[in-house]
Symmetry: D2
Subunit: 342 residues, 4 copies
């Protein structure tokens, strides 16, 4: 029997991608769709690509509307999930696609988000050590941020195998959908096309503490992260170039071996053959992660590069994957590892 | 029991898109994959987005390799399908994604392709009058060209309802994947990005006689077509802007009614609500067709605009849809009407 | 001695492009720069590409600020130019880059813009018959719209030589800068990239009466125009595909000859050699116009295609060219016919 | 009296951009244009954007053709410049836009290029300490690589002021024109659009020893460089994100001060105001360099980011700037610091 799912925040990019994936999920029936300022509008005018749902009308995001579902996905601005989640029963699976329940450290939350910490939920990145066990049967999931997904998957094997010093340098390029539908001048097509530009340089990006949390857990010691995000002229995709000084004695073969071992059984993470490098186009629209790793002997660094679709594996795909685990479904139900290319 | 399918020409864009769709098709098992100059190579290096098939190796395109399948898809350069098809049994479903069997008039074929005409197969555009019946149970399918798909669906209701004069003017924009993987200077990314340019102006495009064939059949009289294709800075998508002088007495309401009637029961063709216009992004990666129609009273013209994904509905999606009909499967099996956007 | 120029509306795309061109103009000194909501801001934060003017601060758009200049360029929303122009002396050259003074017919203005007609100024498209004479020495210039520039140059030779019937069909693609800096959801980079879509279909675009005015003047009889604009995934450029039924007796050679004659002495209009077609990338950032023309015998139509940069020749370049003529400077001063490509 | 300039390799992207700049240079007359496989062709078919030179025909690259010019620009594949330069007199200014004469260390050359080292010429990056003096009056110039231009300008002030440890990590994104016009599958528009991907990871890129040379000279000690180039979906532009561990005692104010001092008098390098970050769109088509620098206290790193146009300041603009210095012309003659945006 199909699981009945509601989506709060169905008019944004994350909500839209989630609905696209749920339409393809054989075990899910799409229930209530809610919005805030868009309540009352047809989904067809807000998400014109979701033709099978074009006639649906958005309802307001209230406990009444969200009641009576087996799963509720929250695609809300940060700071709003806790209040909604509290009103949903403990028997409902709540999957939060926002930031509210990702961080363990309340101080980090307050420093980067400027509001009281709501708590910590099981973390929806099943590929991390121990994560699957925490997700199985849970009724609450915190879906990771898109950058932390790309970066953690690129670097955790190096830290878990003690190949790299706890001092990571990360430069990542993202497609514009990562910035959402907010009407800001620098996100206009005229500004974006033909341009690469950084933002949040120098440690200010809110995804930084989440990366530190994941990499430090893998390393067993505090890891420092220098993170520079850049905006690229494409709608989707993250390419994360991550590196750290190699520990003494590291070899290219040893690095390769650690990554092969880490990802031998992962359905969505593809460690590419030597010589082939990730490309965001290859994972477009899919839940796949492409990873390649190299040891630069002259510079003494381990370099790991990952490509994901920020809206799919980086947000909505990760949410569906975690839902599958939480509900006891096969982990890849309704998800694909084949990208839409070219 | 799954149908076993082979793909001849698996290294190109059409073959790659077909494989992406077949991976998602619950009733198909992917058999032999063949190539010409690429035989012997891993699919992972040629189609890096098809991760689930990365380890497959291309075989040469021979009758032996293609034998033993229920369905054989041909994604070959024009002029090569007939020779291959002859060697396959009459009990095998052969779906030709090339041009060889689309035209009824041998003279048209010879004029535009410069070689002897191979014949005419049932035409894989189920939405045209009579097409579904011809496809049911057939063992041979000629998949339409991408432009004729977009143009025929935009205009045939106007001609079928005798709303327009037999003199159509069509300007269409296509993504670069329509030109295939051929290494030509004007297809380099540096040349394409930021640029719109026409090609094949003045009636020379090989898809023109196919449009004339379809529209004339709908109109019941010969239709003249002025067709100008343009290359747009995007990978996928066709936007076809089609118009013709209105017949006397035509009204906006009458035009709308004819299109509503024509597409009332079509699973993949969406006549948009008044005021909303097609966008190629909305059908990206899907089998959907967006259509809108207007009557410009001042200019006295019926204007119909369609958007499709040239590789999906325009090629591989149309092929799968036709295969489903030929095999007696539900027509939308393995296909989606939800585009990947933004 | 340098001419002193003020720019009202310096924070928008048209104003920014004008400033870029004026920086390269050897006979112009850039004076006051004004804005409305942006008054008081540094130009460096609004137009970060205009590095030589980064330290300039926008002043409010008032008669006092604009006083004391030889030339005043108005890059204002339509309906605002008349009030400003009235306060400037008759000895000041006023170049209006908006729509207010383009149309001769007050009824057309009121129908498409919904406000009282302000008047008609000499029309800044020097390539049209008689336009240069009207611009020489004038103190008031109405710069044409970007679409009418592209369309009029593509088609007027055909009408002037009586080659085409007075019934034109035009489909044009524009870069997103044509829509300006307005914060609208469909102009976000995420929406624009990878997508082609039409707008203002069926005769509603405000540039339509301007095209009709120009083409009717060339034809010596009223010309009907069916105009469909489309938004393309690029920042700049217009590709206009224009056609009309050929008059009886027209030949390919006759068409070619008419265009060669029309543009033999034009410094910025390049009729391409047979077989080469316009591309917007080729005119990027320049005042050049690329044109090609064909006679489609089977369809009986003359097809003329033009490419311009909508911000340069289509707006700011046309403004500078007209200023040069009005002031008696060589027409190409400060302008280039070489595009920035690839 | 104008300087007469020849361009060897006029059909490529570097040669085309050089010609665009020379067309705007008031002191240069464009002489012979040569090509290899393209000799005999009209420039209009190879560089359709250079309309003023459309009728020029390429000649073969021989000493006879190149004789009789004051300046000869070489835009040839690496390894070919020495043979040509030898045949040109010592009184001719030879500006090599290739790699042949950039490196001082013959071993580095042989390791990265696999051929005998041709020698070392004065280095055409005037902003580096001592570079202008070496360029004044020289008859031979080695124009820097595009990546080394972006990276050296971003980081040399930090090394010159001893702010950073000799261990730099660089991730740079380039537009596709950096890869030239070579017909390679991964450079097709269909592959490039919507995709970010790395290449030459792990120290293999040929520009690495040139960066090391420049940064080590600034630091007064050997600097290690980890360099990861990535291909971005745009035609032009380099965004270089560069960082290094800060030396003890470094402060944000100290970093800012060092950069302000280094670039106080540079006409083309713009250190942006605090809070504003470089964007490649802002320098498109110009000789400008945008730089911003930050001190990330938590990560203990100095982060410097630069944006250039790879074809302009990164190749042809740097060549013209160096020519101006060599000939004793004002350094900015024929060059602009205003980018073409949006």
């Amino acid at each position: 029997m199909a699981v009945r799912a509601a989506v709060a925040g169905a008019s944004g990019y994350a909500g839209g991608e989630l609905l696209r994936l749920l339409l393809a999920h054989p075990g899910v029936e799409i229930g209530a769709l809610t919005g805030h300022s868009n309540a009352g509008q047809r989904l067809g005018s807000l998400q014109p690509h979701l033709l099978p749902l074009a006639g649906r009308v958005l309802e307001p995001t209230t406990a009444e509307v969200l009641a009576g579902h087996d799963v509720v996905f929250l695609a809300l601005p940060h700071g709003q999930s806790a209040a909604v989640a509290e009103q949903l029963g403990d028997d409902v699976l709540v999957v939060d696609m926002g930031a509210d329940f990702r961080l363990r450290d309340a101080g980090d939350w307050e420093k980067f988000y400027g509001s009281p910490h709501a708590g910590t939920w099981p973390y929806g990145l099943p590929e991390l050590p121990g994560a699957r066990a925490a997700l199985a049967g849970t009724k609450r999931v915190a879906v990771p941020g898109c950058y932390p997904t790309a970066v953690s998957l690129a670097l955790f094997p190096a830290y878990a195998a003690r190949l790299a010093r706890p001092d990571a340098v990360i430069v990542a390029a993202t497609g514009t959908s990562g910035a959402g539908k907010a009407l800001k001048p620098h996100l206009l097509g005229s500004e974006v096309m033909g341009s690469m530009s950084p933002y949040g340089v120098g440690g200010g990006h809110r995804h930084t503490p989440e990366m530190i949390q994941n990499l430090s857990a893998a390393a067993g010691e505090p890891v420092t992260v220098s993170f520079t995000p850049t905006l690229a002229p494409m709608s989707r995709g993250i390419l994360a170039t991550c590196s750290a000084k190699a520990q003494p004695g590291v070899t290219a073969a040893g690095v390769r071996e650690a990554y092969e071992k880490a990802y031998a059984d992962e359905p969505f993470v593809h460690l590419l053959p030597p010589g082939q490098w990730p490309a965001t186009a290859s994972v477009y629209g899919s839940n796949a992660v492409q990873i390649q790793v190299a040891y630069d002997e002259a510079a003494g660094r381990v370099i790991a590069i990952s490509a994901i679709d920020n809206l799919a594996k980086g947000t909505a795909g990760g949410a569906v994957q975690s839902m599958n685990i939480a509900l006891g479904l096969p982990e890849d139900t309704g998800l694909t590892a084949a990208g839409v290319a070219p």
